[in-house]
Amino acid sequence: MNWLSGMLIGLQEIREHKFRSFLTMLGVILGVASLLAMFALTAGIAASWRNTMEQLGGLERIGINDKQVSLEFADLAALSPGRTLADAEALRAIPHLVSHVAPEMQAGATLSATDGATVSARITGTWPDNFTVSQHAMAAGRFLTDLDLQRGARVVVLGDAKVAELWPDEYGTDADFLGRTITINGRPFAVAGVLTRYEREQDRLRREAEARGDKAPARFAMGGRGPGGGRRDMFSWKNESVIVPLSTLYHEFRSGQADTPPMAMAKLDYLNFRVRDLTRFDETLGEVEKLLRGTRRGVDDYDFDTREDWFERMETSLRSTQLSGALIAGISLLVGGIGIANIMLASISQRVRELGVRLAVGARRRDVFLQILAESTAIGIIGGLLGLGAGVLLLDLLGRLAPLESPPVIEPSAVLISVGFASAVGVLSGLYPAWRASRLDPIAALRYE
């Protein structure tokens, strides 16, 4: 008599009493279903956050911000030139730590397409590295090049939303926008590239489904979405990009104004860079700090804007969500376990005679113990597997009834943990009934009516 044959006896017992076994398993089924659903929902939220983070530049992206100089050094503050191209050039000196550098200058401007509309926009002058630092992707054409920068070329890269505004009639058709000329504050620029439409994964899937003519599942109204527009979300700043070479922006739109400093001394609106190796994150920050101390002449007027805090906050809130979900699932599994124990005890008292016969023909106490334990374990495992199915159904139902901001993700580890817990519940809830059964007196058991 071993574990396996005990399990087989248990399975037969379950087969003989399908309905009763199902009721016994119900608690475990619901427990596992809620556990799985909880895991899948939080994993979905985490995945979509991570996806969003990546599209926004990921952990590698670090911004250098201005900081108020503390009072005791206030008289020194004027020594520092502030955030300038000198900083950006300095960062380029440590390519083994900083892989990309993207200084940005911005200006408000009016855009006008000769064959389209006139709109106002913020235009950004930057370096080609911005492509990587901001995690851009091209829908068509190219991004800025070093040559554009050297020449101060009048080329522009447009975000998806801006294309929609400039050419509302042609947007969404097969029209080719590359090479068209738009004017920015009256000066002609050639469209060199069009950026891809940035959106969350699930929005993209839904939009594609709608485009194919599938009927999208009923959802609560989420606000109107015009062509290329959409609600303001964390991607809108990327979608509304109007990007020109930094040198072009400076020469065309900044210089010539009164008191304009030379380009190298002109203040940047943003300065972001990308860490080459995340495992050397702190080392990189240290090196950058050293460089900045030089360019800022020792004045502590800068600050790093990293996404670490953001990630930590995200992890913390995920963990607390998981904890409360796990608590509910845990209670449900506990109730399920009590249910199994209860039914096993009842089933033992129904089977006293059978156990008596088994003892009479040579079953040892531990064989009987094992048999009952194997049966409750089998109930736990089967309940766990059914619970997985129920969990998937539950997630599907949730997706139909309420809009899920992030589609749930069922990870293999969640499946293993859920079924593992169910099995453990099966084992634990069988211990006491199995012990009771193994203490049966064979003589009394054989006489039992």
Binding site: E354, A360, I443
Partner: protein, 232 residues
């Protein structure tokens, strides 16, 4: 099946079994000595309360005596723990009960195999030996039936096959005809007689003198003592 003749199949020496403690204990067996040799066919009779059930439990290794010595197939049962008792029941005793005591959800084949499962015999060997035992009780064509599909007489034959299957030192039949009509009862007794003729040791517990008369030797108990022990 049987060991050498000088090792008794069952031996009891001054066995006492006292139930209950305190001021008013009941002696179910009060100094019983008995020896059953391999190959014997012994009936144990007595009225209800005579102690024959208690005697059967001791011989069947389901219980241990309060004092005295019980040996089954040469092994001392008196002080054995529950695991050793279980092993003795498994290897040395084949039970046939009044109520058949087959497992209703197992087919005939699996019922007969049951002692072999606990003896750790591999499945293919179990099947072979179960088929052999079924052949001895003439049930080869019923192996896939469930007990509920069989008559009482057939059920008792399955029980006999189950008792035989692990080749025990003795077959212990407790009122095997009690739940059967006279024709089926006679059938089972004939079967036991055949097994005895083939060299099996059989102990038959019954209150019915007519049934007891089928045995070669009758031990009569009364008030926990052996009152008569004689060949028929």
């Amino acid at each position: 099946m049987t060991s050498s003749p000088d090792v008794p199949a069952v031996a009891l020496h001054d066995v006492r079994k006292i139930y209950g403690t305190g001021p008013d204990p009941v002696a179910a067996l009060d100094g019983v000595s008995l020896r059953i040799d391999p190959g014997e066919f012994v009936a144990i009779t007595g009225t209800s309360g005579s102690g024959k059930s208690t005697l059967m439990h001791l011989v069947g290794c389901l219980d241990t005596p309060t004092s005295g010595r019980v040996t089954v197939a040469g092994e001392d049962v008196s002080t054995a723990g529950s695991d050793r008792l279980a092993r003795l029941r498994n290897r040395s005793i084949g039970f046939v009960f009044q109520a058949f005591n087959l497992l209703p959800r197992l087919d005939v084949q699996r019922n007969i195999e049951l002692p072999l499962v606990y003896a750790g015999v591999p499945a293919s060997e179990r099947r072979r030996r179960a088929a052999q035992a079924a052949a001895q009780v003439n049930l080869t064509d019923r192996l896939t039936h469930r007990p509920s599909q069989l008559s009482g007489g057939q059920c008792q034959r399955v029980a006999v096959a189950r008792a035989l299957v692990n080749d025990p030192a003795l077959i212990l039949a407790d009122e095997p005809t009690g739940n059967l009509d006279s024709a089926n009862g006679a059938d089972v007794l004939r079967l036991l007689a055949t097994l005895h003729a083939a060299g099996r040791t059989i102990v038959l517990v019954t209150h019915d003198p007519a049934v007891a008369a089928r045995a070669a030797r009758v031990v009569e108990l009364s008030d926990g003592r052996v009152r008569k022990d004689a060949a028929t």
